[in-house]
């Protein structure tokens, strides 16, 4: 279908983009890669009055080293992120997960920041950014503020971004040596969204799991952490039995939706199975 009419601007600076967005009112929207927005415009699920194209803003593109963290510009395309040497060295979980997002053509246009701002409950990168302790840098008419990933994802397709704010960049702390990672995704067709996904980051110390972080995709309106599993893993032996015992709690306290892809109890089953797999890979077991 053809989208409803809207105005389009492509500002040359972030400051101009922020003023265009705040001048455009509630129905103005940022356009990044358009890979989530365009399908919504075409089926007229969204009908913004103004699109502010931020995909070419130099300030929003590229990846840099910032000492104990790497910084990913919001408009950096998925394809660039997954092949970037800094990402591969310091946040390989992001590279691995991005390679599972959509398909190559969509990854050429879709952006890292767009995925986070879109906040689809089935999105893979929100969960990964939560597990890695990412910090989102937002710019608005009153300047910049930083929001932790744990506060950024608020509800279905809803983040801490105000209508007149732009996600500028994402700071990803380097986890350093000793950490292993994995992302497991269950979906029915190759390019489809996760029915359930699990991100794991595990730090090993002499045969024991010293610390573990487990994030769940599509088990709630926003990405969450499997807290019981994480505490069961802390200090546990890095072996198959201990991991299986901890993974059995991965769905504790969750209340996932039932839809045409899976019923709630099947989603909980998937969360437990995928957690076991992801933690085993991350722990090198």
């Amino acid at each position: 279908m053809i989208p409803a009419t809207f105005d389009y601007v492509r500002p040359d600076s972030l400051a101009d983009a922020v003023s265009a967005l705040s001048g455009g009112g509630e129905d103005a929207k940022v356009l990044a890669g358009g890979q989530s927005l365009m399908p919504m415009l075409r089926i007229r699920l969204a009908s913004p009055t103004l699109l502010v194209d931020c995909s070419r803003l130099a300030e929003l593109r590229g990846i840099s080293d910032d000492g104990d963290a790497i910084v990913i510009g919001a408009s950096t395309p998925h394809h660039d992120v997954m092949h970037d040497p800094l990402v591969m060295a310091h946040a390989p979980l992001i590279a691995r997960t991005t390679a599972m997002v959509a398909d190559p053509a969509i990854r050429h246009r879709g952006t890292f920041g767009g995925s986070l701002a879109h906040a689809d409950p089935a999105g893979d990168l929100p969960t990964v950014s939560l597990v890695l302790g990412a910090q989102m840098v937002l710019a608005g008419p009153n300047g910049r503020r930083t929001v932790a990933a744990s506060d950024f994802f608020v509800d279905y397709f809803t983040t801490a971004l105000e209508p007149d704010e732009i996600l500028v960049s994402v700071r990803i702390p380097k986890l350093g040596a000793g950490w292993g990672y994995d992302y497991q995704k269950f979906h029915r067709t190759a390019q489809a969204w996760a029915i359930v996904g699990v991100a794991a980051a595990v730090r090993r110390e002499n045969g024991t799991i010293a610390e573990a972080r487990v994030g769940l995709t599509n088990m709630a309106a926003s990405p969450g952490r499997a807290a019981t599993t994480e505490s069961a893993l802390a200090g546990a032996a890095a072996n198959v039995d201990a991991i299986a015992a901890a993974a059995a709690h991965a769905a504790d306290g969750t209340n996932p939706t039932s839809d045409l892809h899976a019923k709630a109890d099947f989603r909980q089953h998937l969360a437990r199975v995928l957690t076991g797999r992801a933690v085993r890979v991350a722990a090198g077991v």
């Binding site: 053809i2 389009y8 358009g34 415009l41 053509a105």
Partner: protein, 157 residues
């Protein structure tokens, strides 16, 4: 209306477009380049795939204004006097039946081979995961990409 300047299949074009015009509609309806079909409304099928600045993109999932300043190659620009090796291989391997997915499939395969000249079968299936074919069962498409890879390696020698 917004003014755009785009090079399409080697020809410089300038046009005034409505911001809501999808790139694929501009290519088909305004430029008459109907070699690029539309197969879905959900960005899933990949039949509309074109190259933008040397990388594959789904032309139904982009506004024409977003393509301003870029170089686009559609299936109609894939052949350079002679058929592209991917086109030759698709014919030889009978990698199409109705042909609806073929323009996108060929462009996606060209993109895949430009990044990975010698892909494994798994890498071919992975690289074409954004392109759906409702007829062939993919088997001959994978064979065609393998053959194209051989043809292109031969030609590069």
């Amino acid at each position: 209306m917004a003014r755009i300047a785009v090079t399409v299949d080697g020809t410089a074009r300038e046009a005034d477009v409505e911001p809501r015009t999808l790139l694929v509609h501009w290519l088909r309806d305004d430029l008459g380049l109907v070699g690029t079909p539309v197969g879905c409304d959900t960005s899933n099928c990949g039949s509309c795939t074109v190259m933008i600045d040397g990388r594959s993109a789904k032309s139904c999932s982009l506004l024409a204004v977003q393509a301003d300043g870029t170089q686009i190659t559609t299936i109609q620009g894939a052949a350079n006097g002679e058929w592209h090796p991917v086109q030759v291989a698709f014919k030889d391997c009978h990698a199409l039946q109705c042909g609806y997915c073929t323009p996108g499939m060929v462009v996606a395969a060209i993109d895949l081979l430009s990044e990975n000249p010698d892909p494994s079968e798994a890498e071919i299936r992975e690289g074409l995961r954004g392109n759906l074919c409702r007829c062939t069962g993919y088997h001959n498409i994978v064979k065609a990409v393998q053959q194209a890879s051989e043809l292109m390696k031969e030609a590069a020698k």
